[in-house]
Symmetry: C2
Subunit: 573 residues, 2 copies
């Protein structure tokens, strides 16, 4: 038997609100009958009923939580569905990792959809745990849970017509699954060529102008509001929107009063997070983004549609709308202004009652994916015969993924090149962790550590172990702690040591969001205590291994010049 109640429904199909009697049975909306409200009408539900929110592009691994633990925190914020691209675990464990994600996701009452990671590994200049070729992609696209081909980051290969890349795109079209894009700053004729492949979405727009060009060329724009990349500020910027409309006005084609109504239009299609760490996630998810959009003078109902009906329609999900016959995923909020999530329902069942989440996440017995031997301090030394040496150095900047290529003159002691805290030059290394036991060492400027070392098994995209430190001894200690923990994050100094184990693929914890967030907080404070000047040192460090973003990076195979796309020596002649 179903349950029946009256409520005000926010209808994303007509941009309106109406009171209705709703019957939910077998997890679906069995009947929705509009009612008229007079003085003595009792509306059972206090607040407003909305479809549950959908994050159309997220890498769940970035939260360091298992899908099940992620779901536990997401439902608190009104999220009922996500399309996750298991790109990170795919780089570590391939198909097996993706199947773990699907399996773990199915253990909780939450809608996890997946995209097939299209670019594993990111480059051939690093050792990754897996490679997904077109036959793997076909295997994934056949799965019901897989609703899209994941972000096609490898746009140079799309433009060059690389056979395997083109085959993956063809397969997505063949299986009728939309293709997600990822093409930062791609423009003009190159963008046209990229779009010939029916790549439809983009979540990498960082300027209003970039987003408008892509939108005008037919892309659906995902406005990203994540932990690292926050593009809502640019894409919803009031001044830019006004300027854009003023420019329209000067053509004299669209009547001014029509343009004035456009001021509150979001113009773009979805709001997504892409990456959201646990610290941010416990504070909010798309609910926070909607509120922020409204503060930026976006029509709040249009903002809600960007995380409900819009993604549901694009990806063909049974979600995002309250209609008879649809899956009964819905939330109750207090009102459109305060926007507090009072309750969350999935398939008609309450999963968050305003206080507690009403399901559990299973503990995972993960197998060890850190296949490397313990390290000695010597493994982190660079040897040089002489008193002083000039080295190519990565220069990094707070909150940026881009680095610069610089040089530094460093002293040598006992044949080993020393770090130099006066110049803020530290040692950096990537420790291969898939069984080949190689280490690449180099130098980095900008992290600010005065002593100790920080290390992590999260290092995009191949997730070898990355470590930055003042000296080899502490670097070895930090890395060995991670090896002991079967993955994770570690801080080591003469005075203190601590770590967050991430035993699941070296990417995810078995703990809940609060535990992970508070441990991460402690580790960040320790890094600061060691002198670190970077706001999110582990995240920034993780991107020092991402070779596709300029200018100088490091993989387990060596120091890499991203502009020339080739390895370079650490020591200059």
């Amino acid at each position: 038997m179903g349950v029946s109640f009256t409520a005000y429904i926010l209808d994303v199909l007509t941009d309106s609100v109406y009171p209705a009697r709703i019957t939910v049975e077998d997890g679906v909306f069995k009947e929705i009958t509009p009612i008229s409200v007079c003085e003595d009408t009792v509306i059972d539900v206090e607040g407003l009923m909305l479809p549950g929110f959908i994050d159309a592009h997220i890498h769940v691994e970035s939260s360091m939580l298992t899908p099940a633990q992620f779901a536990k925190v997401a439902v608190r914020h009104g999220t009922t569905s996500v399309i996750c691209d298991p790109h990170e675990i795919a780089n570590v464990c391939g198909i097996e990792g993706i199947e773990f994600m699907i399996d773990n996701a199915s253990s909780v009452p939450f809608n996890f959809y997946f995209s097939a990671p299209s670019c594993v590994p990111a480059t051939l200049f690093e050792t990754s745990g897996a490679c997904l070729d077109s036959s793997d992609i076909e295997f994934l696209l056949k799965k019901d849970e897989v609703v899209a081909l994941g972000e096609m980051m490898n746009f140079p290969s799309v433009l060059n017509g690389d056979v395997e890349v083109i085959r993956k795109l063809e397969l997505a079209r063949l299986y009728g699954k939309p293709i997600d894009g990822h093409a930062p700053l791609l423009s003009g004729k190159e963008l046209d060529k990229y779009l010939e492949q029916c790549i439809v979405t983009d979540h990498e727009c960082t300027t209003f102008t970039e987003a408008i060009e892509k939108k005008q060329k037919g892309m659906k724009i995902m406005v990203r509001d994540g932990s690292s990349a926050k593009n809502m500020e640019a894409l919803f910027d009031f001044t830019q929107r006004i300027t854009y409309l003023k420019n329209q006005d000067s053509f004299g084609i669209i009547p001014t009063e029509v343009l004035e109504r456009r001021i509150h239009s979001p113009i773009f299609d979805f709001i997504v997070t892409d990456d959201k760490n646990s610290k941010d996630l416990i504070k909010g998810h798309l609910n926070k983004s909607i509120k922020k959009a409204a503060e930026m003078e976006i029509d709040i109902i249009k903002a809600i549609e960007m995380v409900t009906i819009n993604p549901a329609t694009h990806y063909g999900l049974d979600a995002g709308v309250i209609v008879t016959g649809a899956k009964a995923d819905y939330i109750i909020i207090d009102n459109l202004k305060d926007f507090n999530i009072l309750k969350t329902y999935i398939s008609g069942k309450c999963v968050f009652d305003g206080k507690n989440v009403l399901f559990d996440a299973p503990q995972i017995k993960a197998k060890n994916t850190i296949k490397t031997t313990k390290k000695n301090p010597e493994d982190f030394e660079i040897y040089y015969e002489g008193e002083e040496c000039e080295v190519n150095t990565i220069e990094c900047f707070n909150t940026e993924l881009l680095t610069q290529k610089t040089t530094a003159k460093l002293k040598c002691k006992n044949g080993k090149i020393q770090s130099d805290t006066n110049q803020d030059i530290l040692k950096i290394a990537v420790v291969e962790r898939y069984g080949q036991n190689q280490i690449a060492n180099a130098f980095i400027k900008g992290f600010g550590l005065k002593k100790g070392a920080i290390a992590s098994s999260i290092a995009h995209d191949s997730h070898n172990i990355i470590v930055i430190g003042h000296n080899a001894e502490m670097m070895a200690q930090a890395v060995n702690k991670i090896i002991d923990n079967k993955g994770g994050i570690a801080v080591a100094s003469e005075n203190f040591k601590d770590s967050l184990p991430l035993p699941i693929a070296g990417l995810m914890s078995n703990e809940d969001a609060h535990t992970v967030a508070s441990k991460l907080e402690i580790l960040q404070k320790m890094s600061s205590a060691l002198g670190c000047k970077i706001d999110n040192p582990f995240m920034t460090m993780a991107f020092m291994a991402l070779l596709v973003i300029p200018s100088l990076k490091i993989s387990d195979k060596g120091l890499f010049d991203c502009d020339a796309f080739e390895f370079i020596d650490v020591i200059k002649n």
Copy 2:
């Protein structure tokens, strides 16, 4: 080599206008580059560039023109694509008729898409020329030109789970082609059940309330602006929209200023014509509807989107948008206020230069589909022994498809029941024309003819020959003229005779829109001269044979009580 020019583009993706350099090559937009406009910038195209318009639901046969002749007049009004449901010819000629439409359509530079007619024949209580079963539907759905399953009018069978009907719906889903609906006044639980079959569109809404219910249940609403049904007045009605918003306001959930912006929202999805006769068609098509919508305070750009990007997205057409890589179907208008179509381009080629249409329609050598022998006046008599007789009578009303069941007392002469102009009771007959040579005779009230007869081989949906007249002699003359003409419309009286031959399936002419329209005009004037009180006598007469619309109708098999869904005798007792 392509052509290159500058123009202001109305961009339906961002609801905006921008100046750009456009290169068209091989029929597609090869490159579109936004340009900045300063004082000395020359914009080559005077006026505004829009995507060509799409009529997402039309029965081309209603224009009495071949697809090719239809295209010739449609391009004058900025239409570049139609989705036509060849339901009429399918009732006459089955698959062969649909293939003729597809073939004829391909002879002109115009985008004809088709839906597979789902309900042929309309009922089993009439003789039709064909029956399309589920295997025929599958044959059609496999064709590239067929983009949807045509309007599912047989909603009682959908609700009852009729095996063949359900199979047709399953096939559409299997082939991934959207299903068009047709469910006038269907509401509540019955509507819910109809929608379970993934029937998505409806073009039959006659009231704002009906349309809102269907929209809230997830249907896409086609606002119909045709020759007979004109629903724009109700669905875009300013007062009703305001009332709807005021009602919203009383809930106090959506801020008033947000509601105020909604005043100009069309709420619904597409504008279509369904049926458009030649007389109307030569005056305008969707261009006229857009202008009318704007006069009803609908945001004109949103109205344009209802006939461009919206239908293109829903049916997956390469149309409706000006983006790189898309088919170069576009039009030039003078401005958004006057909305005159200056030029029309299809696949980059000019097909209407503001004065002339730049392609020809082929002459069709149609085979005769009127398979019946010449009639004698006696065939149109109803015999009765007695002086006076009470008969069941169809009562019809101007501009309505609905009829009422009434009775009349009529005099008899030489054993034949006579019409009675004092009571406005005329004779009506349906002459079977598929080779079985049967005739059904009855009486009709409301047409007003004082003498003569009018006849037509357009009689929904089976298109037997229908005739209304003062006496049997004139009825026979009118019907025989149609038989001579291999189909068409005819007027016969003691003083004058004239006809419009429709030799193609008895539905379409070989002539152009102007010729057909002016001949139709003459025949209507003749009918008026004979006393006819009905505005569009041939159209109204055509619906007297449509058994699915209440209350009393006539097929070639007899007088039909649509409410009881059974035949009744003409003579009472």
